[in-house]
Symmetry: D3
Subunit: 157 residues, 6 copies
């Protein structure tokens, strides 16, 4: 039972309508799903979350759209967010996921959740070779300092 009234397009303010329009245009649909209608009770939140979703999930990047949806879904399954599992499974199917891939995906998510606990339960220490050997100068103050940043051979962490 939603904790807030879902906002309808017809009753929405121009500010909210603009976001709804952008959602529908971006997704090439005339449907705005419930999460956006709920967020619309507080337009600044609606605008911020849509902006992020668009920049992170929609804008072309190094990861392809199906991979992005599967990553979002992996988190949602681990957190048991029912709405998110339903909406992002729907999205992943649009990007080509079928039943067999869904099953494979879920087995990886399950295995990772299992492996995480075996590692935690046994308190296994990180192998030296896994540790990134990032050179790093442990100092980030702005230039007013006289201390010169380490050069040539930056301090190893």
């Amino acid at each position: 039972m939603a904790q807030v009234k879902l906002v309808n397009y017809q009753e929405a303010s121009p500010e909210v309508r603009a976001v709804f329009d952008d959602i529908m245009a971006t997704r090439k649909t005339d449907y705005v799903n419930n999460i956006w209608r709920a967020l619309a009770v507080h337009p600044p939140l609606l605008k911020r979350f849509w902006r992020q979703m668009k920049e992170v999930m929609v804008k072309p990047s190094r990861l392809d759209p199906l991979t992005k949806e599967l990553l979002y879904l992996a988190v949602s399954v681990t957190n048991n967010c029912e709405y998110c599992i339903n909406s992002h499974s729907f999205a992943a199917r649009k990007h080509g996921m079928d039943d067999a891939m869904l099953a494979e995906f879920n087995e990886i998510v399950a295995l990772a959740n299992a492996g995480n606990r075996l590692t935690m339960g046994l308190q296994v220490e990180i192998d030296e070779r896994f540790k990134p050997d990032q050179p790093s100068v442990l100092w980030s103050l702005k230039g007013t300092s006289k201390r010169k940043p380490t050069k040539g051979r930056p301090k190893k962490r």
Copy 2:
């Protein structure tokens, strides 16, 4: 501090050595990382977890190796398993992940964790269109029953 003594190759039983050998052969390395040496305190567990890992993560399937590693990593970050984050970031880098992709990946994981809570906090109900309309006969008893399985028009859930 590991809760059990890590088993060394030299002191391992033939049963454990066989798994260690298979790990090294499968991964084309002469190194066995700590989680496997910890699991070796109980050989049946070592064998089962390695078998699963090999079948799910190594065997070719619909999802490519980098995507699998990223999915494993998405779960590990959500659960905050330090060992797993280190070992699977290492593995993902071997499969081509660089700093920019790691950053993109983490932003998706962060966004999904955020989106999950917005949806939970507002208790948004699932849109009808997201619900899979799977025909299903709600009966799974073995054939001793006289009741015929629904045919033609299976009951919609």
Copy 3:
């Protein structure tokens, strides 16, 4: 579907009725909500959980009642406890939360869940300046020991 029968006031033992009475008197209501009726199947549990809830959430303290409810709710949203989200949103509204505040609250909870994962995923190390420099004597044995507790300049951790 509750795993136990919810206990009714009419059928409750005197021990359980006493707790129900205290709940109603403390909250100035004649309604006992479902969680208490479920806990009543095991009176010692009912008594203990109500005692804690009263001591921690009801008794006046440094944090005001609305802040306490919002903190409880932040945990419940992060854990996705539907009952708790519904009951503590209800309580927070009684203490003055409206839709806009609920939206702000959920954005903070979402942002924290996102920020947590960015930090975990990148495995960022704690800045020295964040570490509390608590003087501490790493020894808590009772007085039978002859070793004198460190004085004057307690050992730094």
Copy 4:
């Protein structure tokens, strides 16, 4: 790095000493471990948490001490609480857990975490036969009401 100064026995107030004494007497040891020394910065919290721990984990009940420790540990592994994993593995070993049992235990915890995600990811619906058929009167108001509680055939949920 603890967020508060750990309280020492020597510097503790009589109120705190009384709890420390009870912890040591109950556990037949002269050592008070760090969590209690941290909680001691706020004596009401120290008293409440120790009282619960004693009532729930120490007092004889239907579940034996080792089972209780393993249940506490299963939660701690799932939540990845390092301190708790270390302290309750230590306690479980005192109650007879050895390496093989620890391995078995962790495999169950890992399997449950995996099974949870398979079930969540596939959004499997609860079988009718698993639902407890608890008769319940959905009304808990105190006796001032004239409405008679349902009798004989209580309303099924």
Copy 5:
């Protein structure tokens, strides 16, 4: 061990320096803490996360700064994010939190985590009175539809 090289002010691009400058100006400090230096490996991520943090946590709103920090901290404790617990405890202390308030805060977070599990474990159903009775028109399509939106007495969910 951070998965990426922490970026220093001196070596930062103008784009990154602009964010670092804004962080320092907003917080009236000449220090940029590690999470921002890590995010700087991918400037678009750095800019987005700082923008959100500033809009949600810094900009004046209905919730006061200490309450916001405590909410962020409640999530971080529940998720066991060590970096976040350290950095936001530090921030909360700046806004007036002392040891006693920290203890109270943690007891509420602990109680909520306990209450969440009692409710989940017993699978308690939501009381009717907690359910928001939000009028809602279950239709959000844009105006191309001929169907008139429900008016006057919107359909109750």
Copy 6:
């Protein structure tokens, strides 16, 4: 709403039927519950998960069947997996759990979730005495190395 069609015995492939038959024979029932019918959309997953469940939960081991069910349930409650809570409470009741034991069990799970957060929130450091002092040779390469494994006095970690 299940994300996949639940497979019926009548329509199942011989491969799937063999697993269903084994489930029914092992459990001495003629009922196959929903999770297995969902997993059957991808027979390799069905076979793997059933094999694990049988090896870990059914095969006699050091932990008795009720303890195993309670451990599985403790994880499921902590993760809030409704299906799992319902099915494993059902299983635990078959192994003798009654309402009072269920209440005790849930109080332990709740207490552990609370204690985990008190410990995390205060960032308490692990007591030296809890740390296992496992002798360990930090080297696991296969025998090609000339370096002899440490003997007699293995390096302490």
